[in-house]
């Protein structure tokens, strides 16, 4: 998201998946993807976690395809109830995108265990939107905002 202490550039990826019924899912791509084989895992993990992912159309397309062709499952539920208290304590005004306020569940690619676990509902996507962002600080109003670097939208055919 930021330069590292060494000054090297870092970026963040955002991902929203859509299923056939039109429901949207925020998908975490900062964490590991245990459903992938070693080579794919390394490829993805390296691309996402470190600063070496080049936001070219080809790279984004390859990443979107990986996500699109694997089922996703719910990963984590964020509790936003205490935001007001945190804002008051920190002296911070946090404005979140409606997508986060609407759904506080973050999804991830299904792991091998998930795939065989009938209790976990697996969601198949029909569309993946990927975005590459940089976090920028605006000193004039002491604010952090996201700045788009690149984006890609992959639909199933």
């Amino acid at each position: 998201m930021f330069s590292g202490l060494d000054g090297s550039a870092k970026r963040s990826l955002s991902c929203i998946g859509t299923d056939a019924a039109g429901n949207q899912y925020l998908i975490s791509i900062e964490n590991s993807f245990p459903g992938l084989d070693d080579r794919e895992y390394d490829l993805l993990n390296t691309r996402v976690d470190k600063s070496y992912f080049l936001p070219t159309k080809n790279n984004l397309k390859a990443l979107a395809e990986l996500i699109l062709h694997a089922p996703i499952v719910a990963q984590e539920r964020y509790d936003l109830r205490d935001i007001a208290w945190l804002e008051k304590t920190a002296g911070v005004d946090l404005k979140l995108a409606p997508e986060i306020k609407k759904s506080t569940v973050i999804y991830r690619l299904a792991s091998e265990e998930d795939v065989h676990d009938e209790a976990i509902s697996k969601i198949s996507l029909s569309n993946v939107e990927l975005g590459m962002w940089r976090l920028k600080f605006y000193p004039e109003d002491n604010a952090f905002r996201w700045k788009a670097v690149s984006s890609f939208d992959l639909k199933t055919v």
Binding site: M1, S3, D6, E87, V92, L135, K136, P139, N142, R145
Partner: protein, 296 residues
């Protein structure tokens, strides 16, 4: 009594030939530093085994083949994790290569000296250029975010900017919410952060300045005037940086390469590097001390 004892220790260490001392410190460093980590236990064992042999015998220490084997092990790790490995592991591998090349050469001390100076100079030059190009050091935004989101810096955020531990924890929590989904709509505004901004700018410019000076003084082959103080600048950087951001691998390898570059006759400067090498081991404990200070 203690002063006399310390002087005896200093004299006995400095009696050692400079290149042998540098190679021994490198070996101690490699023995303590787990280069391959958990990824290649067998390769870690190879490095440990060879470095123990080198510590036990000066003949082994000056064996070129053993240094090449250690470098080959590092090369395997580097190639396997090329894009994700910590960048100071590249520097450690380059320095090990320099050791391998120096051992058996007719002027081992000179080879180590030249490579140490070039590696430090180039590492700091690249760091300096990166920081200028990224822009986030110039406008202070990097440290503004870091002071809030990186708990290694919280003790300074607390003492220099008067932020409470609760406020820092709350800011960090909000930062994490903010990072869940990058988008053009979300924003995070610090309503009262004037002290934060001034401190972030001061730390940013200090970092750029000291790294630029180290690059300049190590790359320009002059031993006079301003350039004669290169060791002072490097030690100042090591102490002011790595007790705050404890990356001991980077700190110790810089310390060894700095020592390799010091003239044989400058005993006090060599002694300071050696003392720094052992003192910097303590930077591993800095997070615990900072946690304690944060609670006060």
């Amino acid at each position: 009594m203690l002063a006399v004892k310390l002087k005896q220790i200093k004299d006995s260490i400095l009696q050692c030939a400079p290149h042998v001392l540098v190679l021994k410190l490198t070996v101690i460093f490699l023995l303590l530093y787990d280069y391959a980590e958990n990824d290649f236990r067998a390769l870690s064992f190879v490095i440990t085994f060879i470095t123990v042999l080198m510590l036990l015998s000066d003949k082994m220490l000056l064996n070129r083949l053993l240094w090449w084997v250690v470098f080959a092990v590092m090369a395997v790790v580097l190639i396997r994790f090329m894009t994700s490995i910590d960048n100071h592991k590249y520097v450690i591998a380059y320095w090990t290569l320099a050791c391998a090349l120096s051992v058996g050469a007719s002027k081992t001390e000179e080879v180590l000296k030249f490579n140490g100076r070039c590696l430090i100079g180039l590492a700091f030059l690249f760091a300096f250029v990166w920081k200028i190009l990224a822009g986030e050091y110039i406008d202070g935004s990097f440290f503004t975010g870091t002071f809030i989101s990186d708990d290694r810096f919280w003790v300074f955020s607390k003492s220099l900017m008067g932020m409470t531990a609760d406020a820092l924890q709350a800011s960090d929590d909000l930062f994490r919410y903010f990072e869940i989904y990058p988008n053009p709509v979300s924003e995070l505004i610090f309503l009262s952060a004037s002290g934060l901004r001034v401190t972030a700018l001061a730390v940013s410019y200090w970092t750029i300045l000291i790294e630029g000076i180290i690059a300049l003084t190590f790359l320009v082959p002059s031993k006079h005037g301003f350039f004669a103080n290169r060791d002072f600048f490097l030690i100042l950087f090591l102490i002011t940086t790595y007790f705050i951001a404890p990356v001991s691998g980077f700190a110790l390898i810089l310390c060894i390469m700095g020592l390799a570059n010091v003239e044989r006759s400058r005993r006090n400067t060599r002694a300071i590097y050696i003392a720094a090498f052992f003192l910097l081991q303590l930077c591993e404990f800095a997070p615990d001390v900072k946690d304690y200070l944060l609670q006060i």
